[in-house]
């Protein structure tokens, strides 16, 4: 976003210049379209290149299918793809919610009980270093073959970035603001909700945006082990059947969902952090 916050001192110093104003608006509109069209053109170019490469070099569909074939698969098997997206989406969203709620709660405890942070933070770091592909079988063994282990994996993946960011956001309150709250004889509850929580919001949203896409990855990886439905299971099946068009179509569906989830969080961020636009850019 072009950010043109007008310095307050110039307010009231505006003169009417319709021509300059029109030129300014036209330029803004041009820049806005450019921002949208450039990535769209780049994607179209890449697809064209891919399609032509497959055609010209006569590459076998199971090695790399042409985008046209992938599009046809997407269209023809749309119902089946959506049926498989549903469990993955539920797992990702539930994991996202659980992991973040847990992380926010623990961050709150950390801020008020330094001892808890000193004791448990190293454990959180260690759990975070275990690769997802290693966590998955452990959790399947622990939680069975239903949705639970997938939700747990998605939650674990979301947990760490939110814990780190939220702890920092709750703690990094400016000392003058704390002094102000003391002079106002604010209760601890007021200091928490009116100062610390609000201060942590930009930090929290940075973490949530990371978590939105990693939660989907977590759910998919969870489905790799002994699952019969879901985007992850479909990826495994398509790979073993050399059904590359289906594999690609599945990836498109998973990524689109992930992007939508990310977009939703970004939208919420813009709504909640309207006051922060000046600092963000």
């Amino acid at each position: 976003m072009a950010n043109t916050t007008i310095p307050a001192v110039t307010m009231g110093a505006f003169v009417d210049d319709a021509e300059a104003q029109a030129r300014f608006v036209a330029r803004q509109r041009y820049l806005a379209w450019r921002r949208r069209l450039l990535p769209a053109a780049a994607i179209a170019g890449m697809l064209l290149l891919w399609w032509q490469a497959v055609e010209q070099f006569d590459i076998k569909p199971f090695i790399a299918p042409s985008p046209v074939v992938v599009a046809v698969t997407l269209y023809e098997r749309f119902g089946m793809l959506m049926t498989n997206l549903l469990p993955t989406a539920i797992e990702a969203v539930c994991g996202f919610a659980l992991g973040n709620i847990a992380a926010i709660s623990l961050a709150t405890v950390f801020v008020y009980r330094k001892t808890a942070e000193e004791a448990f933070f190293p454990i959180a770091v260690m759990v975070n270093t275990i690769p997802v592909v290693a966590k998955a079988p452990i959790l399947v063994l622990l939680l069975g073959n239903g949705m639970e282990p997938k939700i747990a994996i998605a939650a674990l993946i979301c947990f760490f970035p939110t814990l780190v960011n939220m702890t920092r956001g709750l703690r990094d309150v400016r000392s003058e603001q704390l002094e102000l709250m003391r002079i106002l004889s604010a209760t601890p509850r007021e200091v928490f909700f009116k100062l610390r929580v609000r201060n942590a919001m930009p930090y929290l949203f940075s973490a949530l945006k990371i978590a939105a896409s990693t939660a989907v990855i977590g759910a998919i990886v969870g489905e790799w082990i002994g699952s019969t439905k879901g985007i992850g299971a479909l990826i495994i099946q398509a790979t073993y059947n050399f059904d590359s068009p289906l594999l690609y179509a599945t990836i498109v569906v998973g990524s689109t969902f992930s992007a939508l989830f990310f977009g939703l969080i970004s939208f919420a961020e813009r709504r909640v952090l309207r006051w922060n636009v000046g600092q963000n850019t």
Binding site: A8, S185, K194, W275
Partner: protein, 268 residues
Amino acid sequence: MAVALVKEAPSPPIAADAVVCERITVRFTTERGTVTALENIDLEIPAGSFLTLLGPSGCGKSTLLRVMADLIEPSSGRVAVLGDVPSVARQRREIGFVFQDAALLPWRTAMENVTLPLEVGGGKALPGARSPNELLNLVGLSGWEDAYPHELSGGMRQRVAIARALVSGPRLLLMDEPFGALDEITRDRLNEELLEVWRSTGTTIVFVTHSIYEAAFLGEKVLLLAARPGRVREVVPVTLPSPRRLAMRETPEFVALAGHLRRVLETC
């Protein structure tokens, strides 16, 4: 015969003084040793007066202000603020504080920042509370109620901070170099406006600055502090006529006063 023990009656709080400091000493202990920030400060600030604290950096001006605001507890000595210990005055919400960099909450609009003191404090009633609208008007910000701090200039942010400090109707307003980061033109204008606020509210103001001109222009008295350890060097009464205008800074009286303050400061 046995002589009846005459117990010295505890002296009743003197209503005429907003702040009384008796032999205040503040020490800070850090890993590099103990620092005496203030030593044996004796001070009486009459209610309704305007006192400026002037001194070199590190002389403990801000520390003294924070002792009055109950943000720092003195290592020894006695403080009375508005007839009570500072913590009681603070809990009665009779102290307003303006910080050097406004310390506005960036997620609140100008109006929401001004109303913050009315929302916190555990829901206690504030009998002296003033209208936030009137205060924003008083500091010249009507029309800017819905602006966020990042949309305001430095001077406007400081105006919001002043309105916020006044909204609970404090009897003591403590200001810690509030205009230190502003450009000179804005600072001059805010100096004049602050005197207007002082006249219209009757609040006692204690104002910390490192500007000689600001200290002399604003204060009824200028308290000069010497550094390391911070102690009272001299109290200089300012005899400029009231109301004060910026042009007075060019009069021989003002120049002489500023010269005197400068000479004392050089020995601090």
